[in-house]
Amino acid sequence: MSVFRLATWGWLAAVGVAGFATYEVKYQVAQVDDELGRVNHQIDGDRDQLRVLSAEWSYLTQPARLDQLRQRHLSLVPVTRAQLGSLDQIPFRSGETAGPAVASAPASPAPSAQARPAVRLPGGADLVSVKPGAAR
């Protein structure tokens, strides 16, 4: 008799817990679903904005416009052949031999103030310097 009653209460409690849990989960799912919709909407919006912005970027980087801006604000010029070279055109620093670079590196003294750059760009650094105050 008492066993039967205990079992009944037990089951009732289980049903109650299960019902509450189900409700709770459903409620959470609805919330997450709302969140998903909101995020998706935001993604759509962001994506549209990205499309507009990248189109605008492409518009603003028209070569002709960049060229005009360069002439107005910078003293940069298009790269010429004088500024291009290959690695084997760079001579070794004095004191270094043409051996493997890795092996000779530890032996050479640390770069000091006397170490002069081995390569000079034709035309010097002027080629790529920015005119002071040219930006305004």
């Binding site: 998706n40 759509d44 189109a55 492409s58 518009y59 070569p63 790269v79 052949r81």
Partner: protein
């Protein structure tokens, strides 16, 4: 069959009934059998239910506690494909050239508008660029639906919405933007905004793909080189007061068109400025008598068919009289010329004789093989049909040898010259980018040796011949000049020229063919009365090469190094004279 059981005999009686002393269960017979069957069935059903519940239970535990078998499938939210959607067009480096954006259009349902005058007044107050009378007329028209304004900004939409006028609605509509504007208009083309239909260029040629594809269409065009080409052609048009110009940069190994310009051009974002002249694609639709640049084909044919060799020579002492024509050299040498000299001094007489030696049939076959007699098949619809004589007489053979009496488009020229210099393989021209490792199939149209000889000859023209202004210090340019007298209604007009230069770079191992044609240039103060291809078009190619080489990563070389000298040497019997004839 079976007698009804009395209450006391019922084995399943309720418990609170005091049972009568139970009768013994039947030990055997039909009753016992029935009981056994029932028990078995009950057991079986019970087991089935237990199994089902166990499975559901396990799955529940699995899903909730163990988070399910598979990881959660997450996928990006995809916007639906709508009517007005159209794929992007990008250049070979992914630079955006055309894109459809969405905007709100202002529309009205006049029947729902109560007071047209009042509504119009309010609308014009927030949208000052609208005309009040116009709007009032539309709203009072009694039509079902009118469109008031395209492309509202979000601010404007907000303001109109705040007016709260009944019958005024917004409608999402796509509009096409071309960020690079007129720079790429000759290739990209434009669309009819109202019905999202391509009307020119790639927009028309690949209309169906653009409507269905989700991925952008990748063109072979490089916007940076497109700018270089366009700017340099424009500079020459300005310097020589020309009517227009066209230019192409093509990859000789793949047939890809890297840049293509036709000037004057139009702005696809604002078609109000478009007219027949600037919509006309001079590089692909226009066919012209190209003049001496055609000698590239004549010489290649003669060498490839072993009609002559680099050591051969022709008598250019006297002009050729044939019928009512006289073929003469612009700056005649009045002597025998070697084959390389004929090419470098651009001798019409020598080229005509060379072609006559080869014969009309061979000439036509050769030009046909190079695709010069048929419309090229490319992705844009603006393609000119070449014009050539149906009856190929002796005089035609002679004039075609130096590029008169046959009209082809610059696109065909570039395709043909690519095949001549790239080792002899003809590739179809294309405006679409090939994948990086893709090796397009081509047809062999001339021998490797002929191609090498032609490269030497083209270099000779730039070093010592009519194309000296095409040279670019540090870079190995080869090329050929051409100056054609344009045909007007009554025959050749002496003052109207089409001046061209076809450059090949680097000539020792060709990668690019660069063609520049200037339409109706006039001599200027610097050009000593000349408006020929060598004066007008060659300097543009020289500057293009110097600007493009760093962009495409072709290093400068020492033009006088022994290896290069050897690779490009031609023995043209220099003792015969080194004076340079113009064109």
């Amino acid at each position: 069959m079976k007698p009804a059981l009395h209450l006391d005999e019922n084995p399943c009686r309720p418990r609170h009934y005091k049972p009568a002393p139970c009768g013994a269960l039947p030990k055997e017979g039909p009753e016992k059998e029935l009981l056994e069957t029932s028990r078995t069935r009950l057991l079986l059903t019970g087991v089935l239910f237990a199994l089902a519940f166990a499975v559901i239970g396990f799955r529940l535990v699995d899903l909730t506690v163990l988070k399910g078998g598979d990881a959660r499938i997450s996928h990006a939210h995809v916007q639906p494909h709508t009517e007005a959607t159209r794929a992007d067009i990008v250049d070979r480096n992914g630079v955006l050239l055309a894109r459809t954006l969405e905007s709100e259009a202002l529309v009205a349902y006049p029947k729902l508008v109560d007071n047209a005058a009042e509504a119009a007044r309010k609308l014009v107050r927030v949208l000052p660029d609208l005309n009040q009378q116009d709007v009032q007329a539309k709203l009072g028209s009694g039509r079902k639906y009118v469109r008031l304004k395209r492309q509202l900004t979000p601010d404007q939409q907000f303001a109109v919405n705040n007016l709260g006028i009944p019958g005024i609605k917004f409608e999402t509509a796509g509009f096409r933007v071309y960020p690079k504007g007129e720079l790429t208009s000759a290739v990209v083309g434009y669309i009819d905004t109202a019905d999202n239909k391509g009307l020119a260029g790639i927009e028309r040629g690949l209309d169906d793909e653009l409507k269905t594809s989700d991925d952008p269409i990748e063109l072979s065009i490089d916007t940076r080189l497109q700018y270089v080409l366009t700017e340099e052609i424009q500079a020459q048009i300005n310097a020589f007061g020309a009517k227009g110009g066209a230019g192409i940069i093509a990859d000789v190994k793949t047939g890809e068109i890297i840049a293509l310009a036709s000037l004057p051009n139009f702005d696809p974002n604002d078609m109000s400025g478009a007219n027949d002249d600037n919509l006309f694609n001079r590089a692909t639709l226009g066919t012209y008598e190209m003049g001496s640049v055609f000698k590239i084909f004549t010489t290649a044919m003669a060498l490839d068919d072993h009609v002559t060799t680099l050591a051969g020579s022709y008598d250019a002492t006297e002009p050729i009289h044939i019928g009512r024509f006289t073929i003469h050299d612009d700056h005649a040498k009045h002597r025998w010329l070697s084959v390389p000299e004929i090419f470098m001094y651009s001798s019409n007489i020598g080229s005509a004789k060379m072609a006559v030696d080869a014969g009309a049939d061979r000439q036509r076959d050769f030009l046909d093989r190079l695709g010069l007699l048929t419309e090229p098949k490319v992705e844009i619809p603006e393609i000119g049909r070449p014009e050539w004589p149906s009856a190929w007489h002796l005089v035609n053979t002679m004039t075609i040898a130096f590029g008169h009496g046959i009209s082809v488009s610059p696109l065909q020229m570039v395709t043909g010259v690519s095949a001549v210099v790239n080792g002899g393989i003809l590739h179809r021209a294309t405006f679409l980018k090939h994948p990086d490792d893709y090796k397009p199939a081509g047809a062999r149209v001339l021998s490797r040796q002929t191609s090498e000889d032609m490269r030497r000859l083209l270099r000779l023209v730039v070093e010592q011949g009519t194309g000296k202004f095409g040279a670019a210090p540090g870079y190995l340019v080869g090329g050929k000049t051409g100056t054609a007298e344009k045909v007007d209604g009554h025959g050749y007009a002496h003052k109207e020229l089409l001046s061209s230069f076809i450059g090949v770079f680097p000539i020792n191992e060709p990668r690019y063919v660069i063609m520049v044609s200037i339409d109706q240039p006039h001599p200027n103060a610097q050009s000593r009365g000349e408006a020929t291809g060598g004066w007008v078009a060659a300097p543009a190619v020289s500057r293009i090469v110097q600007r493009m080489a760093p962009i495409v990563g072709i290093p400068a070389v020492d033009e006088d190094s022994p290896e290069i000298r050897r690779a490009l040497l031609v023995d043209f019997a220099p003792s015969l004279g080194r004076k340079i004839a113009a064109n």
